[in-house]
Amino acid sequence: MNPLRAVGAGVLTLLHAAGSVTWFAIRALAAAVRPPWFGGQLLGQLFRIGFLSLPVVGLTALFTGAALALNIYTGGARFNAESFVPNIVALGIVRELGPVIAALMLAGRVSSGIAAEIGAMRATEQIDALHTLSTDPMRYLIAPRIVAGVIVLPILVFIADVIGVFGGFLVSTNTLDFDATVYVRNTVDILERWDVISGLIKAAVFGFLLTLMGCYHGYNAQGGAQGVGRAATNAVVSAAVLIFAANFLLTSLFV
C-alpha cells in the first residue's frame, strides 16, 4: 500500500473521530441546557459517579500523598531541603496529583461502566426503544451522566486533596519526625486560593471528558457483546489520554 495513502487514511479517520466526538458533545450539551430535564436520572448518576467512587478516590489519594511525602523527603535530603515536604506535598496534591489521580481512577471505574451500560442498551435495542417512547436518549441517558460528572468531580477532587495532604501528614509526622503543628502551618501557609480553584477547574473539565468518552463509545457501540467490550476499553483509553492532554493544556494556562 502507498505509505502516503495510509497516512492520509489515518489522518482522515482521526479527523472523522474528532468531528464525531465534537458533534456528540454539542448535542449532549444542548440536551443538558434545554428542558425537559430528568432530575431522577441526574440524582442517580450523582450517587453512582460521586458517592460510590468515594472509597477508591479516598484510598488512592491517601497512598499517593504518603508516597509523595516519602519521595520528596528522599530527594530533598540531597540538598538539605527536607523541610519543604509539607509545602511540596500540598502544592503537588492540590494543583496536580489530586485532580489527575482522581480523574484516572474514575476513567477506570466510571467511563468503562457508562460505556458498557449504554453499549449494552444499544445492543439490546433499548436506545431505539427510548426513541419510540418519544424520549430523546441524549436527554435521558447522556446529559445526566455528563452533568453529574462535571458536578461531582470537583467535589471528589476536593475530598481527594484533603485526604492526600493528610496522607503526607501521617507519614511525615509518624516516620519522618515532622512536628504536626509546623506541618499543618506550612501546608496552610503555602496554599493560595488559586491553587485550590485551578485544581477544581481541572476536575470539572476531567469530569466532562471522562463521562463524555464513556457516553460516546457506549452510544456508538456496534457488534453485540464484543462491541460492548471494545466500547468499554476505548472509553477508558481515550478518557485517560484526553485527561493527560487537557491537564497539560490547563496547567500551561494556569501557571
Binding site: P36, F38, A120, M121, T124, E125, Q126, D128, A129, H131, T132, L133, S134, T135, D136, R139, Y140
Partner: protein
C-alpha cells in the same frame, strides 16, 4: 389496499456504504388494518420499520404518517408519537421495574402522576394476561414469554394509533407464540390501531395479518390481502410462505 394510507413509504432508498438495502421502496399501510411484511433475512424489513420510527433517515424518498413526512431523530414528531413498538428482544429497560417500563411514556412524555401511571400499567398488564405481581419485578426476572407480554403491555399502554411488531414470536415455543399472536390480534382490534409487523413465522402471519407485503431486493415484490397469499397469486411469495427453496 384501497383505504386511506395511515403510513406510506414513498420511494424510500437506504444505503449502508456501498450496499443498497432499500431501493425506491413504495408501500402503504391502510388505516385500521394489520399489515405483515415478510421476506428473507437481510432484505431490509427492520430497516423499513426504523425509517417509519424516525430511527434511520432515508437517503432518498420519505415516510409519511397521516400524510406528514416523518422527521428522523425528532423526539416530538407527531407521527412517531402515535406508535407503540414491540421489539424483537423486548427492549425493556433493565434498570426499571416492569410497571415503570410499561408506563414509561405516560410518566416521561405525558407527565402523568406516578399513582395514575401505575394504575394504567396494571391495566395494560391485565390486557396481556400478566399477574400484577410482575409489576415490581425487573425484566431480568421474567421468562421469555413474560418478557414479550410485558413489552407488548408497554407498546399498548399509551393507547397508540399505530402498532409495530418486530418478529413478535421469535424465540418462543409454539404455545407461547400462539398466545402472543392472539394477544396481538386482540389488542390491535381493541385499539382500532393500524398494525405493521415483520415476521418469518408464517403461523404468526396467518394469525395477525389482514394484508401482506413481501420485500425482496430492496423493493416490494408483492402486496395484497392475506387470501392472496393463500391462493398463491405470486409464485415466489407462495414458495416463501411454504418454505420451499429453489435448490432441487
Amino acid at each position: 389496499m384501497t383505504q386511506t394510507a395511515k403510513i406510506a413509504w414513498k420511494d424510500v432508498t437506504i444505503r449502508f456504504g456501498r450496499q443498497t438495502v432499500l431501493d425506491g421502496l413504495r408501500l402503504e399501510a391502510a388505516e385500521g388494518r394489520s399489515l405483515v411484511i415478510i421476506g428473507g433475512s437481510g432484505e431490509g424489513k427492520s430497516v423499513m420499520l426504523k425509517t417509519a420510527l424516525g430511527l434511520i433517515a432515508p437517503d432518498k424518498g420519505r415516510v409519511e404518517i397521516d400524510g406528514r413526512a416523518v422527521r428522523p431523530g425528532q423526539e416530538d414528531d407527531p407521527g412517531v408519537a402515535q406508535i407503540g413498538m414491540l421489539f424483537q428482544s423486548g427492549a425493556l429497560f433493565d434498570s426499571l421495574p416492569v410497571w415503570k417500563n410499561v408506563s414509561f411514556r405516560l410518566l416521561h412524555r405525558d407527565h402523568m402522576q406516578a399513582d395514575e401511571a401505575r394504575e394504567r400499567a396494571l391495566e395494560a398488564l391485565d390486557q396481556v394476561d400478566l399477574d400484577h405481581d410482575v409489576a415490581d419485578k425487573r425484566p431480568s426476572q421474567l421468562s421469555g414469554g413474560m418478557l414479550k407480554r410485558a413489552a407488548l403491555a408497554r407498546a399498548i399502554a399509551a393507547r397508540p394509533k399505530i402498532l409495530f411488531f418486530d418478529e413478535p414470536t421469535t424465540g418462543l415455543d409454539p404455545v407461547t407464540a400462539d398466545v402472543i399472536n392472539k394477544l396481538i390480534s386482540r389488542q390491535v382490534k381493541q385499539l382500532g390501531a393500524t398494525a405493521v409487523s415483520i415476521t418469518h413465522d408464517m403461523v404468526s402471519m396467518r394469525a395477525i395479518a389482514d394484508d401482506v407485503a413481501m420485500i425482496k431486493d430492496g423493493g416490494i415484490l408483492w402486496s395484497g390481502p392475506l387470501n392472496g397469499v393463500e391462493t398463491c397469486e405470486n409464485s415466489e411469495v407462495c414458495r416463501f410462505v411454504r418454505g420451499e427453496s429453489e435448490i432441487a
